[in-house]
């Protein structure tokens, strides 16, 4: 998916015949530089260059490729996307619980799976191609836990049974709210790219392992892992988000596009007695509609 987005962007940007339409107007053919002084961005006319006597006139240049610094004259943009979170940081957590009148421990090494992502962004242009605004993303994923644990013996203190196993399908939902600064880059005719970044707050609600389920039988020198008990835990943290958004304008104001976003925020979650440092966010790819206004 990422490769597809990048391929589309680079293919469009490489086309010399496409002009930009940052202001929503059809691009005009640029005249040769020698025929007329180029217009400066501020609208002033530059002094004409003079050729030394006898010097050959330089060959007429081809039309200049589209300039990405061309001014964006719109007021803002809005984006809604649907995609997936492709990668996310895992975490480890520990939990203490009581088994046979003694402390047992659980260690969970979590891997976050791929899950659907829904997002929206918007911004208002404040200066040249710079816009400020906000973003919202909601990601629903599942977790797989690699569990190891120590379970006390029922009859003796300080004699533990080691167990291990996996638990999958634990739910996790993240919600990202971000203040974002976006810079619009024109890649080609009808093809724009936003580069955006900003601080973000990510909230998560997820299942976390709190207790090991196991089977045991006399003489209880071993135990067999059968699963985990979980608690639904929520929390959040402030971090950062950033990414690129490439869009293709179908009409003057409406387009379609793809987005790559990476976010990260640290959070501390406490499923039972032991707090766990959890990295939130991850790499998301999404496609959706774009509106320029």
């Amino acid at each position: 998916m990422i490769a597809a987005v990048l391929a589309l962007a680079s293919a469009l940007a490489a086309s010399p015949t496409l002009a930009q339409s940052l202001d929503g107007q059809p691009a005009r053919q640029q005249p040769p530089q020698a025929a007329k002084p180029a217009a400066q961005p501020d609208g002033k006319q530059a002094a004409p260059r003079t050729q030394p006597a006898g010097a050959k006139a330089p060959p007429a240049r081809k039309a200049a490729p589209p300039q990405t610094s061309k001014a964006w004259k719109g007021r803002g943009f809005a984006v809604v996307s649907v995609g997936a979170q492709l990668a996310a940081p895992g975490y480890t957590s520990t939990a203490d619980f009581t088994v046979h009148a003694e402390d047992a421990t659980l260690n969970a090494d979590a891997t976050i799976g791929i899950g659907p992502a829904f997002g929206a962004r918007g911004g208002v242009r404040v200066w040249k191609n710079l816009a400020v605004g906000g973003g919202l993303a909601v990601v629903s994923t599942s977790q797989e836990l690699a569990i190891t644990g120590r379970l006390p013996h029922p009859f003796q203190f300080n004699r533990y049974r080691e167990v291990s196993g996996t638990a999958d399908g634990l739910a996790r939902t993240e919600t990202l709210v971000a203040f974002e600064v976006s810079w619009l880059v024109a890649l080609a005719r009808r093809v724009d790219m936003f580069v955006f970044a900003g601080p973000a707050y990510i909230n998560v609600r997820q299942d976390m392992a709190t207790r090991i389920q196991f089977n045991e039988s006399f003489p209880y020198d071993t135990a067999t892992f059968t699963g985990v008990e979980t608690a639904s835990v929520s929390g959040g943290g402030v971090g950062a988000t950033g990414g690129i958004d490439v869009s293709y304008l179908v009409t003057k104001r409406l387009g379609i596009g793809g987005e790559l976003r990476y976010s990260y925020a640290p959070a501390t979650l406490t499923p039972s007695t032991q707090p766990a440092s959890v990295g939130l966010g991850g790499l998301q790819a999404a496609f959706g509609a774009r509106i320029l206004f």
């Binding site: 009148a101 009859f155 203190f157 399908g169």
Partner: protein
Amino acid sequence: MHPAQQPVRRSLAILAVLTTAFLTPAHPFAQSGTGRRSLVTAEGRDVRLWDAQISRMVRDGRLRSRGEEADLVLGGRSHERLDQYHQGVKVFGGELVRQADGGQTVSVIGALYAGISLDVEPVLGPQDAAAIVADMTGVSVGPDRAPELIVLPTDEGGYALTYRVRVLTDDDLAVFFVDAGTGGLVLRYSDLQTTIGTGQGVLNDTKKVSATLRNGTYLALDGMRPPSIRTYDLKGNLARTQAYVNGLLTLNDTDLAADADNEWTDPAAVDAHAYAGWTYDYLYKRFNRQGLDHRNLPMTSIVHPVRREDWASAPSSVLNLYYLNAFYAGGGVMVYGEGLPAGATMGGRQWKYFSGALDVVAHELAHGVTDYTSDLIYRNESGALNEAFSDIIGTSVEFFYQQAGSGRLQADYLLGEDLTEPSGAFRSMANPQAYGDPDHYSRRYTGTADNGGVHHNSGIANHAFYLAIEGGVNRTSGLAVQGVGAASRAKIESVFYRAFTQLLPANATFSMARAATLQAARDLYGAGSDVERAMEQAWSAVGVS
């Protein structure tokens, strides 16, 4: 908010906890085994989906409602339990609990099983299953307890068509699952609510107590080991103690040592109960022996057979037996002496509860093992061997659980050293003469007291056991023994166990004990092994040929 409402709120936060991959494969949770899943979380929208799914499953017979109950705390709420069925047969553990508020489902929590493809036509009938369980337990169930055909999810991840039978035996409330095709036992578990508590022993050490919760009280009834292990507190009633030991009185649950919060405070009961279990475990782990009779005979301990404060007025016979002694009363029953109250002394020592010494508890229980094996006659040489075997097991159990050393709660070759203050002992295996016992056959007692010196002459075999492990020189003969070493003590223990439980006759002599242990050494470790050599040298050193 009223504190009682907090859990309700919390449960509402998790709108639904469900199971089954075949229903919501996107939300499997905590999978265990193969072919099935358990525990799936679902958010609020999913609850409605589940609601519809449950209705479909009820319609097609995969779920059956057990009925709906009104919520006693929150008005308008109700709770419905739904059992999972496979082709009309109930699936054990497959159940959903649906909470509703004014008819709207609030939460669904439970577990369902997937991938069941069992043929539900049983080969056996319920009466066959009942007969099989009756054969195993000796208990026949009545018609209202008829076996129920049930699909049992197995620990291996599969399913078995079984009959479930719940039987109350003398020592357990057991649930049996009998294969409906073969009649084999698929699963058995105890329905007793066993739990592990803690308590302080006689020496103020904290240990675990395997108890059973009944009617809000924790009882000294161990339901976690194969045999029933019970500890009765006779609260100083000597008449009841004697009546029970003589078979004239049956004790019941109200006589069991009890505790309100499972943090036990009666050290005599704590140690008697815990050490009985430890001894059972030792016999099982070391020799694969299942209790005193190898058939998991119930083990019963009696503590507080007399009142401590009555000691001064007690007849000497009572003082010697019920205060300053412990004994095996037969049939798996041990009685532990009460010791003396704080400040009182006998022989210049204060005496603790007799259950407080691990080697003493194991010693008494080993008499039970002897009873059910060689049944060594308790007089003269066979009696001395009977006592020696109990000393050997008592000491071996100490070394099995405690660090070697010379302090309290440490393993050594002294017997009963933890019972008195200042510390003393009844006997020494390393140096029997230090306690007036013979360390050589030539020094044996030949009188008639003490059943022919059973507690004295045991020192001869005791010392042979010690020398075979630790090595050394016999003080009388001067002969040196090359022991197998402490790291190999299990070998010598096994040799004595084999010889004394399987090879010796009831009227054994020391000479027979030598022959039996040498035979056991050869049986277990081969002719010419270091074990056989150690045994041979040890018996020679103590003058037994």
